[in-house]
């Protein structure tokens, strides 16, 4: 469940799948005992679940049908620096932040 939250921003809570102030109730059996029925979870949150049968891989996309952001609350983003040390965006709370995406390409 921690990995699900880290990659999607959606946390499993007693009231359902939650991101910031938004919670979506989940059908019974979707998340129990630390396990998530990903196919059911994906269907309920309108997330595409794409399958590569040749390589035994599945990938879960973000919720469809709205906007990239469902809330203005910044997602919990934790990424490594050059030395591999994880850095949490939330550690900068109390400062304004300009987060800039760039690439070597």
């Amino acid at each position: 469940m921690d990995d699900l939250e880290r990659r999607t921003g959606w946390a499993i809570k007693p009231q359902g799948a939650c991101k910031a102030e938004v919670c979506v109730p989940l059908e019974p059996g979707t998340a129990e005992d630390g396990d998530v029925d990903v196919a059911s979870f994906a269907r309920q949150l309108r997330m595409p679940l794409v399958h590569d049968g040749d390589h035994g891989l599945w990938a879960l996309g973000p919720p469809a049908g709205g906007r990239a952001l469902s809330t203005a609350v910044a997602p919990e983003l934790e990424l490594p620096d050059l030395s591999g040390q994880p850095f949490a965006l939330s550690s900068l709370r109390g400062q304004k932040v300009v987060l800039i995406a760039w690439a070597s390409w």
């Binding site: 590569d52 390589h55 990938a59 469809a64 049908g65 990239a68 203005a72 995406a101 690439a103 070597s104």
Partner: protein, 235 residues
């Protein structure tokens, strides 16, 4: 460039965080980061997680976040200096495709003066700045995500995973599908084109050019989309 911005804005209480969107990970980004000697957090996003979470579709893109951890600007083009090509003629003697690429680059709007002014104003005035959007506006102005775009994100993730595993033919098939589903996502295209045209650790003389692997390439796709549409305006 980002370090200079950080030096200017940090005294006003703004931290700059850079995120390298590179499937090649730290090794791909390292030369640029080490040359910049940044004082700000310089992070590596090898899985393109932040694209999906925040809606980045090209680089450079940025979001602004206030002291409470609330976005005041959704993903937007983030130019803090003018294009080096804008006011100078395209040099003669270049290979034809490179020449044509520079012709298109010169057509791409660069509103760095407006953007930098807005950023400075927000740094000083925070939520009182007219450039700071309400939470509802931030959500409404974030990238649309129809079903095809959501599926493209999953396809791109499969492509990246397979590429890192060395399953490159299979990866290309998923990258192509991501491109088909979201043709205006330049991050997906430019990353995949670069992987196909540049060997690890080497400079490329192809520069996201034509290959047998993909239908598109930077020059043809920018011409088709119109250089004026390569970055959305900041307003």
């Amino acid at each position: 460039m980002w370090q200079a911005l950080r030096s200017e804005l940090h005294p006003a209480g703004v931290e700059v965080v850079t995120v390298a969107l590179d499937t090649g990970g730290a090794d791909a980004a390292r030369p640029w980061i080490e040359a910049a000697r940044p004082e700000h957090p310089s992070l590596i996003d090898a899985a393109h997680v932040s694209d999906e979470l925040l809606g980045f579709v090209n680089v450079p893109n940025a979001v602004w976040i206030d002291e409470e951890g609330v976005l005041t600007r959704p993903a937007h083009p983030a130019h803090v200096q003018g294009s080096g090509f804008a006011d100078s003629p395209v040099p003669e003697g270049l290979p034809p495709r490179i020449h044509d690429m520079l012709v298109e680059v010169k057509k791409i709007p660069n509103h760095s003066d407006v953007y930098l002014g807005a950023l400075r104003d927000w740094a000083q005035r925070g939520s009182a700045s007219p450039w700071a959007l309400s939470p509802a506006e931030v959500v409404a102005r974030s990238q649309p995500r129809p079903p095809g775009h959501a599926e493209a994100a999953a396809c791109f993730e499969l492509g990246q995973h397979l590429w890192r595993q060395g399953q490159r033919d299979a990866a290309v098939a998923w990258f192509r599908e991501a491109h088909r589903l979201q043709p205006d996502n330049w991050t997906y295209k430019r990353q995949a084109w670069t992987l196909a045209t540049t060997k690890e650790g080497e400079a490329s003389d192809l520069i996201q050019g034509p290959t047998d692997l993909y239908d598109g390439n930077w020059l043809d796709d920018v011409r088709a989309a119109g250089a004026e549409n390569y970055y959305i305006a900041f307003e």
